[in-house]
Symmetry: C2
């Protein structure tokens, strides 16, 4: 049985991750701090986002630093979709600091308790400036919403390795979601 | 004797950092990878940016991961300037993945071989998508260029600590630069 979950609004920024209906995936509301001249936007901090009690890059005891493989951006132009993709070893931590992005996750991991679940959500200010964890093995794709580019930032736990990534065409019948709009 | 250095264009992305005229500060050209739907923009990678032979967060031998204190964004609205600021313990690694930012650095560290040097540069695509290292003790301020907001990303080596940051007003006579435009 397949479930479709649509998440449209974010919880308040309280450092409490919430599930998105897919095992190992969560959303963590991030802080937006208004300052003179423009806001400061939190993303990754050793003390908080990457350690909400789920498997993630953990630093040795007493080490306050994040241990990351890579930080990079993916810009999506209006009218475009990137995906489908999944990773066998890399865990992704996504935020959208500029623009608005629609993301769809699909879980077809054979032994997942949430196998078959599809989740659609949006990331971006003002209501959804959140950190999204995408676990290994889960398909994802993302598209800019509206008429402006959107910028996704990924804090990945291991460096990019082309051998551990897998792709499917956007219109693959394997994933029960249509990006035609 | 005071020097003013203005850097206006970036070297090609070749993983070779270049100095900006201030001891401990450098620019590393970052890769912009054109892809269908929008470019991928590199920023921080354990194997490259944070280890070009200068003091920076180093991982234990054999550990391929970055060790960072924090990753956050600072958006600057058109017509605004943020600064002056300096840090006593935090080393900053700046990139501007969206929009265009003017940055000014000023070195008044008593024992610096480049004491008195002021450097103005711009970060942003297409010609200056670079990583800028700002060492401890160096004053900095930044402003959005043009009529759009600009987004700065900072990969800092230690988490934010209000006790190690210092500020001066933008019109401080201590720093020989005028932000009036």
């Amino acid at each position: 049985m397949r479930s479709v979950i649509t998440l449209s609004t974010s919880a308040p920024a309280d450092d409490t991750p919430r599930g998105v209906g897919i095992d190992g995936s969560w959303l963590l509301p991030l802080r937006v701090i208004p300052t003179e001249g423009g806001p400061v936007l939190h993303m990754l901090k050793a003390a908080a986002p990457l350690r909400p009690g789920v498997p993630c890059p953990a630093a040795p005891a007493g080490d306050e630093r994040l241990h990351l493989g890579e930080v990079y951006f993916s810009e999506v132009l209006p009218g475009h979709v990137k995906g489908w993709k999944r990773h066998s070893r890399q865990t992704q931590h996504f935020a959208v600091p500029f623009g608005r992005m629609a993301l769809v996750l699909y879980d077809d991991r054979p032994h997942s308790p949430t196998r078959g679940v599809l989740c659609r959500l949006e990331l971006g200010r003002p209501d959804a400036y959140d950190l999204l964890r995408v676990p290994t093995g889960v398909w994802y794709a993302f598209a800019a919403v509206g008429n402006s580019p959107a910028l996704l930032c990924n804090g990945a736990d291991i460096p990019h390795d082309p051998d551990e990534g897998e792709k499917l065409p956007l219109d693959s019948p394997h994933i029960p979601y249509s990006w035609d709009r």
